[in-house]
Each structure stands twice: as structure tokens, then as C-alpha cells.
Amino acid sequence: MYRETQIIETDNIAAAGADAAGAALVINVGPQHPATHGVLHLVITLEGETIKKIEPHLGYIHRSIEKMCESLSYRQFIYVTSRMDYLSAHINNHACALCIEKGLQLEIPGRAQVIRVLMDELTRIASHELWWGAMAMDLGAFTPFFYAFRERESINDIMEETCGARLTMNYMVPGGVMYDLHPNFQKRVKSFIQLFNSKIDEYDDLVTGNIIFQNRTKGVGVLSREDAISFGCTGPVGRASGVTCDIRKLYPYEVYDKVDFDEIIETAGDSYARYQVRLKELRQSVRIIEQLIDNIPEGDFQAKTKAVLKLPKGEFYSRVETARGEMGVYIVSEGGTTPYRIKFRSPGFSNLSALDHMSRGSKIGDLMAIMGTLDLVIPDIDR
């Protein structure tokens, strides 16, 4: 891949008749940069304003969560995973809980399943809201950020009331959820949906329809279907390239097979398609919530579990759909109270690997549109 770049370089240099040092301009974007939303470090080789190569340097926020989890018990390690993709903290926890339950062959009460799905979808909305604002900010429009946060704040309030925290909720325990829903939960979710439905059209007015925005994103960072599969791109990035990769549809968990929602597929594969997929997913998430909010079954919110959990010897893998794509948890158990080896397949890691491929030949301004619509969360990539 990099050898290939060098060939391009020599070709261009030969054509331009310039010397090697003068032709390429190498700039460092990050680790502290307004557009990388975290400590991502990109070494970009430019020719004028055209990107010739992007080399991501990772590890600025690597905490070795996988190693850390090897010394934590099955109850304890769930909370650490909130710190990976902090915007879909609840969904990460869900993946871990599912994997443990697979190992223990636990049956989850119906009420807990519905609560989990409701929380997942609320988290997804909150995550997409933040993405929408931050993406618009990358493209130079500041105001959408505040509108997005207005709606996101009401989700955070709901989370705070029921789960006890706003961002890293830690509401998930093996076998169910930590507490029952707060009595106000249904009322507040309904009022949130009302607010959301009244405001979402504003998003279209302000950003989607805007001619500058469309010009900035259409045809930018095109990822073909084959490349998306080959790079392992999932979530909105994969679906914008026409890959059916919604785990909620393909391998339904909890009650996703009982609710009615659409998997959003776009075929263009450019930044605008990725934008459209996320914006439409917001509406689908609201649809799921609307179906479930009045149909929460009565019963336990937690299955009975032993105080000390021990997974049988073997390997367990669970997959869930986070706001960014497919999240996998791979546990190798040796029968003890702690996992022998744990691997988190994070969606951002694979999506980032396609960045270089997508942005070659684009302008440096396009890079922000591409990174914005990839929706990278750096702790998710570094783990």
C-alpha cells in the first residue's frame, strides 16, 4: 500500500520535473487538532492541497482495556467498556453482557430485554445527535452543534434519572439491568420523542438541504461496496456503501426481531450517503422506541445470577450494532472467574483503516467531510 504511494510520487515528480523534497508537503493533523475530535494523529502527505497519503498514528489514548479486562471479573469488566466508545457506552456494555450471558446460558427476563433495547436506541440517538453537530462543525457551521445538544441533553437527563449517570451509564449487569426503570421514564421518553419530531425538520433546513453542505459532501470520499466489505466497514459507513450489515437485522438479539424498523441502505458510498444513513437512522430509532415504550412487559428486570460468575471453558463471541457499526466481544474462557483473553472488535478501528483509501486525491477540506462522516471516536479505535 505504501510502496504503491511511492510509485505515484516518483511518477508525479518525473512529470513535474521537480525534486523530491519540494513536491510533497507533509503535515501533521493532530494529535491536537480541532477536527480530529480526540487524540488521533494523521500524517498527511500533500501535493498542493491534494492529499496523496494519510497515515494514521494511533495509541495516544491506548489504555490496553483488553489486558485490563483479563484481571477483572465478569461483573467488573463491563464497566470498563463504557470507556471505549463513550458515545455508545450502553451498547458496548450490552455487547459484553450478551457475551457473558451466552457463556452462562442465561435466560433474560422480557422486561430487561425491552429496557435494554430502549436504552440502546436512546444511546444511538444521542450518539448520532452529537455526530451531527460535530460533523457540521467540521464543515464550518457552528450553530447546528448547539441545536443537536439541545435534544441530546434531554436524552442525557432521561439517562441520568434512570441509570444514574449521563454518559457512562453502567446500567448493564449480566442477566439484566441494574435497576428497574424510573417511574417517570415513559413520560419523559414520550415528551422527548415529541420534542425530537418537532425539531428534526430543522436539521434538514439548516444542514441537509444547504447547497454548500451538499457540495461539500456529495461525491466526496467514495467507498465502493467491495472496498467497504474488504475494509470491514460496518454501521452507517458500510450501509452507505450498500452493504447490508445491520446486526440488529442480520443476527437479532434481545427483541429486535419483534420490532418493526428498516435497515437504511444507500448506494452512493460518499459522505452525503453516510450523512443520509445516520439521519434516517435517527428516525428509525425513534420508530423502535415508539413501538416499545408502551409495551414494556411486567416482570423482573434482572435474572437471578450467582454472586461470583464463572464462564465455562470455551470461546464466546457476541455481536451488537453500536452507533458506529458492528461491535464484537470475543471471550476466551478457561473456566475461571476472569476472562483468559478478551478481544473487542471495535467498529471505528476498521472504519479508520479505510480513511487513507477514501481520501486519496481529495482536497484537505474534503478530509474533514470524510472524517466527520466516518464518525470516529478515538478511544474506541485505541481501546
Partner: protein
């Protein structure tokens, strides 16, 4: 035809821009939509939900008695080594030696408010408080002793 397309393009572009300006302009004219909360001026009105996890506290009743038996379940449940329980041996009236809590050490600087200790506690001795303003000038002040001086185990708690 080219000219018509050209002018239509311009018209559509301008219309989309005006639509956006209408949205921001509307908010400009409606100051009551402002959502800013003026913390810390609104401390008095601010009400945190009862489940909010701010820090771990140990509840004491009016006789300065708590419910902690020093069983170290919370210490074992904590993923970060936040809690350290120092036990001592009390002598019961019958003359038997009994393990009891001496000091409940709580490292707030290590705590991630995951609530696992509260869930693990068999006697509901500890709970989460809603305080959240934990900034101090010295890190050592985050090391807290949760049981009050002179407190003892409530009678009847095993």
C-alpha cells in the same frame, strides 16, 4: 436549455441558503428558546435525580451507627481498588471476638461511580450520594474515611 438549468441552479442554491438563514434568524428573534443554565447561579433550583451517582457515602443514623459489618464485599466488587476496608476485632458481651469495621477508606480519585460496591453490599451500609462538586486543590483530600469517628455497628445488623 443550458441557461435555464444555470438559472435554476442559482435559484435552488439561494433558496436553500435562505431556508437555513430563516432557521437561525427565527432563533435570533426568540430569546425564550435559550437553553443556557447558569450554573453555579442556579445551584438552589438544581435538583439531581435520586439515582445520580456522585460519590460513595456511608449512611449513619442519629445514634452515629452504621450498618457496615466489614465483610469486604464492596472491596472485592470494586474494579479499581477504590475501597480499602480495615477491620478490627471487637469483643462481644459474651466474650467472643468479632470482626468489625475499623476504617472504611475510599479513594474518590480512583472511583468511576459504577455502583458495583453498592450493589454488592449485603447490609446496604453504603449508598451513592448526589454531590458532584469534588474539585479540591490537593489530591490527598480526595482520600476519604467514610465511617464517622466514634461510630459503631447498628445493633441487629449481621
Amino acid at each position: 436549455m443550458f441557461l435555464k438549468e444555470y438559472i435554476l441552479n442559482i435559484y435552488r442554491a439561494v433558496a436553500s441558503l435562505l431556508k437555513g438563514m430563516k432557521t437561525t434568524g427565527r432563533y435570533f428573534l426568540r430569546p425564550r428558546e435559550i437553553i443556557t443554565q447558569q450554573y453555579p447561579d442556579n445551584r438552589a433550583q438544581m435538583k439531581l435525580p435520586e439515582r445520580f451517582r456522585g460519590e460513595v457515602v456511608m449512611s449513619h443514623d442519629e445514634n452515629n451507627e452504621h450498618a457496615c459489618t466489614g465483610c469486604t464485599a464492596c472491596e472485592l466488587a470494586c474494579p479499581n481498588g477504590t475501597i480499602k476496608i480495615i477491620t478490627k476485632f471487637d469483643v462481644t458481651p459474651e466474650g467472643k471476638k468479632k470482626k468489625a469495621l475499623d476504617t472504611f477508606v475510599y479513594h474518590l480519585e480512583l472511583c468511576t461511580m459504577c455502583n458495583l460496591c453498592v450493589e454488592a453490599c449485603p447490609t446496604s451500609a453504603i449508598k451513592m450520594a448526589q454531590t458532584f462538586e469534588h474539585s479540591v486543590y490537593d489530591r490527598s483530600r480526595l482520600l476519604k474515611k467514610l465511617n464517622q469517628p466514634g461510630s459503631k455497628l447498628r445493633a441487629g445488623v449481621e
